[in-house]
Symmetry: C2
Amino acid sequence: MILRMSSLFLRTLREDPADAEVPSHKLLVRAGYIRRTAPGIYTWLPLGLRVLRNVEKIVREEMDAIGAQELVFPALLPREPYEATNRWTEYGPNLFRLKDRKGADMLLGPTHEEMFTLVVKDLYSSYKDLPLSIYQIQNKYRDEARPRAGVLRGREFVMKDSYSFDIDDAGLENSYELHRKAYIRIFDRLGFDYVIVKAMSGAMGGSRSEEFLAIAKNGEDTFVRSPGGYAANVEAVVVPQAEQVDAAAVPAAEVVDTPDTPTIDTLVDALNAKHARTDGREWTAADTLKNVLVTLVHPDGSREPLAIGIPGDRAIDEKRLGAQVEPAEVVAFEDADFAKHPTLAKGYIGPGVLGKENTSGIRYLLDPRIAEGSAWVTGADKSGFHVVDLVYGRDFTADGTIQAAEVRDGDPAPDGSGALATARGIEMGHIFQLGRKYAEALDLKVLDQNGKLVTVTMGSYGVGVTRAVAAIAEGNHDELGLIWPREIAPADVHLVATGKDAAVFEKAAELAGELESRGLTVLYDDREKVSPGVKFKDAELLGVPTIAIVGKGLAEGTIELKDRRTGTREDVPVADIVDQLVAAVRA
Amino acid sequence: MILRMSSLFLRTLREDPADAEVPSHKLLVRAGYIRRTAPGIYTWLPLGLRVLRNVEKIVREEMDAIGAQELVFPALLPREPYEATNRWTEYGPNLFRLKDRKGADMLLGPTHEEMFTLVVKDLYSSYKDLPLSIYQIQNKYRDEARPRAGVLRGREFVMKDSYSFDIDDAGLENSYELHRKAYIRIFDRLGFDYVIVKAMSGAMGGSRSEEFLAIAKNGEDTFVRSPGGYAANVEAVVVPQAEQVDAAAVPAAEVVDTPDTPTIDTLVDALNAKHARTDGREWTAADTLKNVLVTLVHPDGSREPLAIGIPGDRAIDEKRLGAQVEPAEVVAFEDADFAKHPTLAKGYIGPGVLGKENTSGIRYLLDPRIAEGSAWVTGADKSGFHVVDLVYGRDFTADGTIQAAEVRDGDPAPDGSGALATARGIEMGHIFQLGRKYAEALDLKVLDQNGKLVTVTMGSYGVGVTRAVAAIAEGNHDELGLIWPREIAPADVHLVATGKDAAVFEKAAELAGELESRGLTVLYDDREKVSPGVKFKDAELLGVPTIAIVGKGLAEGTIELKDRRTGTREDVPVADIVDQLVAAVRA
């Protein structure tokens, strides 16, 4: 196939789009691959669509290779199945809802767990029909609060979602492993530098869950790794409960006068100035217990206050907290909320009203680093006062623990495999043992070998297809433009004819034809009256991995080959050029 | 590729689905190609998806062959462009509308004229950029009042829509011709028995417009053909205005007493009984002028009465009338409406109050068959009375003509090419010279050769892709099941292993592998414990054109080949089978 730039529906831009912040977004728009239609909603222009189809092809081939079967569900779906699993409500404002002309509630599918479960229930009835893996590559819809970074987080996007159906846990484990291996092949072929991390299973009710993250400094996900091989999405890090310590030597708790110390810093300074420790050490933020109040908004709209106690030297990580309380959303605890809880002394809140007598009526959860028997400085529930030597277990209690405090570089890995280092990534894939949650909600049962009805166990596996295009661009560019991995590129060769010499254009056209006949896709810059400089700039921007330039060298019988990634140039005799290009592409 | 029926996600059904009326719907569901998800919304199961992709591939190849370039727009679109063209309103209840989380109005694209126009405006600015043809193959949404016949008329469906952009009318004519030829190739390859008919351009504001109709007795469209080559969708038939006749010999109009004659039949009987014609001929319905009242509901909700005068021997054709008054909808003229117009004598309405003094205030349009100078019996605007010898032009006038009366077998073709015959078809494609309507509404201008801004002229070209699957099935089946054209079939060969002999299954598996290595797709019925009878029934139902049966004959060294369409059977030596199958498929 030959794509002639003289007629290709393409305009490259020299300026970054005003709304773009990350390189992939800037470059995909500038190079004419995508075009914004509405916030988080994009049009795929011809070259972009070629790239998208290349990604789809890789995903499809690897899914087919593990025996998964492709089908396609509608994007416009009836409410009832999502009502049965409560997701109609739980999805909150992220779900696009609409009514049809008869007033029936419908939605645009955010994921299709319900539909996959129902189609298997519809067609299958016996253990003999299992295992089964089915998938689709299809438009998904999520009304993101903050669509961002072009197609990296859009509101309409293409996803491959597959589901496995097994009669028992061993079967699920096997289906999961098959998908895991397929995903490794997919992300290898897509050219990602990626990491497989433990992920939250949380509200979805399943067990084993891993994410494939493309390592990217502009990624939205933070993950941690240890030298010993631990790797987890930061939401999934489970800090172990600190072991009990002996509180026998801790004196009785004492209320101290600490005027004007509503923050940890002011508190630590005041303590060191006026209430020196008996052991001679200085007070630090790590000695303090900070009690943070938030409001949970449940999907039904109800609001619940929540108090979280964490060491004063750490902050709440909103994503970790969010993952713990899903599907509730976390919003700030406002002055109006304080007004409803008069026992709370803002800036001086302590376990007095939260954790022991709990006169506040608010649920109180502690960071697992807070050991039973450990002593803390914390609020005395009276403005201007704190309490010292307040011992967890002796002087106060809590309603449980929560994984909500930030995880930091240097924290110990939960499995003892060394110090954690944090990094950022883009979630490209998620594999997940759903278990029986959906099968139970929608009553998917089959007969087992003994003729008994048993609930099927399911796995769920997703790949962000449109997102992959952005993530590949994020990991494959330089200051001049995009640099596509060969299997993803919109063309095999970018052939540039320069100058005004008719012989050059004739030779280039002949070459394009020969390459096409050898099965290559050629992006042929046949534009007249466009300067070589502009053509070279476009070639760098568009990012086809191999650039062939027919120009001045032709008089000496050579064509210049340029490797877009390495920048190396080579003059190749005209007689050898086709073979050499075919070899480069097939390599 | 080998599709093994032992693990294929497929269940064939022996019973027709309860909601299915037409053969294609029944068979596509029974054969496990599609499955209903909601009214007019379907899931494509693995074999169905293969068929759908085959149709898409043909459409794509032929669009690419005329230099059209593929891109893809979102399905979820912002309101503003559709507001600019007034389609947000005009589409009425057929448009799926929704609001996003910020309250912005959005829609699910029914067609993408606006988006195509805007993307060209966005990227192009000069006559040098034209001509351009761009297309997409993508999900469309229309909230049909009566979704029917499975995927023949769905609410979510796949359509190929393309648009051409030209600097002048000659360019548009050329782009139109290119698409027309591509469509002929597409519908030839899809195996349709089709007809190209003149179509309405109507409200869309364009000029030349043709439809490709698959001839099908269950089709929703009625078309007419003449021996001389005239062919038109019945909505597009333009009956010429009857020529003026001489009314000199017609006596003065006379009101006659015709009690209890509110219908044409009772009127004709009463006239023949009590008011014999002077020329001795009997009165017939064709002598009467019937005045029909309807109410138009405009997109803004306003209601307008309309009176239509047609010869009494014809009925109003709702589709022809609907096409004339688009985007208004036609509803019945109710008693309440009569109450608002007291001069109307129900059952005896005449041009007295409608067409001359027009005391009713109602717009009055006549069928073009009503010639100036012709005399009619019609209502006298007084209950129980009619008027005879009322001459159009002499005794009454009207506000214009309307093409709303039925067209019948035997009517003369408008171009004089003989008598019309009516038949039914399924609209598979529509090509349409849009002209400048959208370009004007959205201000798409480019610089011409003289540096002057000119409005671009556009063509619009659609193919119903999901509908094509149903229409092909509608035209390719028998009482046993589907019979796919080869290029559309989900597999090249349906290979059936029968009996319990291990040697049979071994040979069949070997054969499947050999066929796969030759590039064929094999649907291999490798199911154990399924009787030959069930396997043969399934093969007939599924409709792969070539069936190969490995069974009893294997002992004698033969395999049975069956042609699904002709039913011919042949025993082929094992040694020849692969070559013979490959030859049959490649033929």
